[in-house]
Symmetry: C2
Subunit: 339 residues, 2 copies
DNA sequence: ATGGGGTGTTTAATCGATTAAACAAAATTA
DNA sequence: TAATTTTGTTTAATCGATTAAACACCCCAT
């Protein structure tokens, strides 16, 4: 890499001190600087193609103008879409975003936090997985500004923005009931993650309150380690019940992907034999012959608000803001009303 | 953010100079340092939870141990998968990867390069879009180590690793011919991007050499700005020809996504009425009732090799390595042999 | 003429880590 | 015992930018 042009190079070329060059290029002390000299400095900077050495600047100012965003899984479209939104939003406030993917692994999550903190990011946006509460507490102790997105710990007094998972799921189930479905199953992860369990709670509450049905019988969980085979297994179970399910709610886009592929394999007709609802807006849902009904999350808002909350926290570490946002149900072919 | 622990803090706690602390923690000068003192320093560092200030280290060493990866579009699974591979590969050599998405926009591409260079990344991995040749030339002039991946300029003497697009496409067409299809169409972008045009070249060559067919008549291009409606339009055209196409090659996963959704809409049966081949391994291909045949790119290899080439270039800026890799055709339902 | 107020610019310390070179004390050799 | 090596540690410069404080003028009012 060619040696880069520094303030000093400009200074010596123009014949002034590097301090003056710094003042001019940063627009400080503007009142007093000789206009001709200032112009000369600017011209020379352009001519030499000067670029600030951000490393040196950061060392002195203790700010990197960088945010870290740790997603659960970068290859999940939910994460990559959010990443895109946050990147754009942060850019408006002159921040660059670094990404990391924890792959739902607490150990990797910890490493990423460490990496980001070592690189002196100014703040963190986090979608934490299981067993990460200690890390969150640590960040709070260290007074590192951060905000949680999508996932959060309700008991911890931290910034967060997330979907109102309980009500979003409640409405989804309500929709199925309104379409005449009664044997409604659900497939969720076996997890301690709050927002996923809120979905289960919404499912059970809707069935109970709206139709006096006990959903526990048709609720199934799958393990992250053998997600695909587990999904296949529990679906087979639910469809082989004495009174089989006639509708199925998948608690995540990942579960739904495997679930729908399995429906293709075992040639179950949607929605005639089984109605399907899932979470998140994926183009994949349109490749299926019966485009899937889904709970759309307000990604744009979530990303913007998270960035806002974080920046507020960076200005005042005591600022704590929390928000849950409503989802919207996008109704399509896969939940057509029962004849 | 709490004031962080520095070398000096450890030094004063132990009662030695910060130089000695630096030597110990970096394992230099190991021969001469008193073992007890060294242990004490290490213990104190742990006790105070010391983390190197990478900013300060970078300023001095002129290395950030950071690579920049600019993808064409982070929400394309091709990109995010590659990002994941490169991240893991780079980590093995102790590099962190920063990501940026140019969204196929030359202006954004330029900005990202600037951002990364200002932040002193040690090297760049690039998937450049259209009109970016000037940027590539600039990087070469500035002697910034970089490698191109997936996309490259054949005329520029730079590092790259990419798919052998010509032969991969040739084989895909050959497969269709072998299955008995004769009216084989192709939908590609209207672009100057080399690797995409190689696909067109492979398509035409295979038809000509293997079956003496002139493919130009069934070749269609779409514009990036209205990609979805263009895809719909050209597909309708090809299916409405006097002699309609009985097979279709989509030149990218994005085109195929829209294309297959359209087939759902207009209820064309795959493969009975139309066989389909696409590029890239996407889970989406399995949501379609006739799982799609596709050209699989050797992503793992591409990512590993690109990282390798880049690191070689960082050690010796004159090192230039180029490689094209074969794809593999994954044959499935969407190209079943004609009865 | 003297002191006060602008104006324009420079000096010098600083951020935290690295590292060549210097130094001091102990150990070894002559 | 004096000279030399070895051992253990410190000094001080450096990376490049920032910025408070100092400085040197000039102008003007008392």
């Amino acid at each position: 890499m060619l040696k880069r042009v520094s303030l000093k190079d400009i200074a010596s070329q123009v014949g002034v001190s590097s301090a003056l060059v710094s003042y001019v290029l940063n627009g400080k002390n503007t009142g007093r600087i000789n206009k001709l000299v200032a112009q000369k400095i600017r011209d020379t900077a352009r001519e030499l193609n000067y670029r600030t050495n951000q490393i040196a600047r950061s060392l002195k100012t203790n700010r990197t103008n960088t945010l870290g965003f740790i997603v659960a899984n970068i290859s999940n479209p939910f994460s990559s879409h959010l990443a895109r939104i946050i990147e754009d939003e942060a850019a408006k406030s002159n921040y660059t975003v670094l990404f990391g993917s924890s792959d739902e692994n607490a150990h990797k999550f910890r490493n990423l936090i460490e990496t980001f903190v070592n690189r002196q990011v100014d703040g963190l946006i986090l979608a934490p997985g299981e067993d990460t509460a200690d890390q969150i507490v640590y960040l709070k102790e260290q007074q590192v500004p951060f905000v949680m997105i999508d996932r959060y710990y309700p008991d911890l007094d931290t910034n967060y923005v997330a979907l109102d998972n309980f009500n979003a799921t409640y409405e989804a189930i309500n929709h199925l009931l309104a379409c005449g479905y009664r044997r409604i199953g659900m497939v969720n992860y076996d997890t301690t993650i709050f927002n996923l369990n809120e979905r289960t709670r919404g499912y059970l509450a809707a069935l109970k309150n709206e139709a006096n049905i006990d959903g526990t019988e048709t609720l199934r969980v799958v393990m992250n380690r053998n997600i695909r085979s587990d999904v296949n297994k529990v679906m087979d179970e639910l469809l082989a019940l004495e009174e089989p399910v006639d509708a199925l709610l998948f608690a995540s886009n990942e579960i739904a992907l495997y679930g729908v592929i399995h429906l293709n394999e075992i040639k179950i007709k949607v929605p005639e034999e089984l109605a399907v609802i899932t979470f998140d807006e994926l183009i994949s849902w349109d490749l299926f012959y019966a485009p899937l009904t889904y709970v759309k999350q307000p990604l744009q808002q979530m990303g913007e608000i998270a960035t806002r909350f974080l920046i507020d926290s960076m200005e005042d570490i005591n600022s704590v803001q929390q928000l849950v946002l409503p989802g919207s149900l996008i109704i399509r072919e896969s939940t057509r009303s029962k004849a």
